[in-house]
């Protein structure tokens, strides 16, 4: 196995480890907020490494074969990475906010500042 191929395989292995840990965390954690941590963050990190793998592979193929389609693939993957970094935290925030508005309390919580702020607002309105 050549050295660039080994590098690509290592990148893919890192992504697999983090995606796998995200899935395990989804089963182990107790409530919606902690599950969001595992399900969105670990898999984001894993998926970032998958995009790195694609970029590294297509750059290597481009250098070897000199075909434009591989360069095209690398650039489009880079755009997909930017879209991932923008949309993923927004989606996680939307789910968490909706869960809190529906009144789901974080389990095992030591402290809940938002709950107190909501209560204070209610008192001011009354």
């Amino acid at each position: 196995m050549t050295l660039p191929m080994l590098f690509i395989v290592i990148l893919l292995l890192i992504s697999l480890v983090f995606n796998g840990l995200g899935t395990i965390g989804l089963h182990r954690f107790p409530d919606v907020y902690t599950r969001l941590h595992a399900a969105t963050k670990c898999t984001t990190f894993g998926t970032i490494f998958i995009t790195f793998t694609v970029i590294a592979y297509s750059t290597r193929q481009y250098i070897l074969t000199d075909e434009a389609k591989f360069l095209n693939m690398a650039i489009h993957t880079l755009i997909a990475l930017a879209a991932l970094l923008l949309t993923n935290p927004t989606g996680a925030h939307a789910i968490a906010r909706a869960a809190h508005k529906m009144g789901i309390k974080p389990k095992k919580a030591v402290r809940d500042d938002l709950e107190e702020a909501d209560l204070q607002k209610k008192k001011e309105v009354d």
């Binding site: 954690f29 969105t40 360069l71 970094l85 993923n88 996680a92 919580a109 500042d113």
Partner: protein, 177 residues
């Protein structure tokens, strides 16, 4: 002439996006040049300019809602690019921490309030996204008026503002304020 700046910047942004998306997809102009296939074909550039003109005419009041053109300064965009490096390092560190918590199950969750003291919308948006992107912290609610963020933290600790957002706020202040 008041909207001229907004129109031109929206046009340039749309054209840039179009050209990046069609990069290396066009027919090559000269077959033997080493970088020939990066060059866009003539038709592609004309279509790009006309589509960008339409987009700019329709949406310039959305992109530049306030009469504020700080972000036209290219130095700020450079700092955003540099900012991705410390963000990635923080993400890697926090990911290993959350991986450890997934395996051992040692969690101590709670929701804390932090006051980052950023004034612009862009700054707050980037800060909230950066916080959500690093594992272990998750933005649940944003208070627009007081610039306060409510954050679900997987392992409670003291001094939340400094621990969660300290380095991010210092970076964001360099380009967004």
């Amino acid at each position: 002439m008041k909207r001229g700046k907004a129109f031109v910047s929206t046009f340039l942004l749309a054209l840039f996006t179009y050209l990046v998306l069609t990069l290396a997809a066009g027919q090559s102009m000269a077959q033997d040049a080493p970088w020939d296939h990066i060059i866009w074909s003539f038709e592609e550039i004309i279509i790009g300019i006309s589509v960008s003109l339409i987009v700019a005419a329709l949406t310039d009041h959305i992109l530049c809602r306030k009469e504020d053109y700080r972000m036209l300064n290219p130095v700020r965009w450079l700092i955003i690019l540099v900012y991705s490096v410390p963000l990635f390092i923080e993400m890697a560190k926090a990911n290993i921490d959350v991986a450890y918590r997934v395996i051992t199950g040692k969690i101590e969750p709670g929701i804390v309030k932090i006051e980052p003291d950023l004034k612009t919308d862009l700054g707050i948006t980037i800060l909230a996204n950066s916080i959500t992107l690093t594992p272990g912290t998750l933005t649940v609610e944003v208070d627009d008026e007081k610039s306060e963020l409510y954050i679900h933290w997987i392992k409670m600790d003291d001094k939340p503002t400094e621990r969660i957002a300290g380095s991010f706020v210092r970076w964001i202040r360099r380009f967004a304020e």
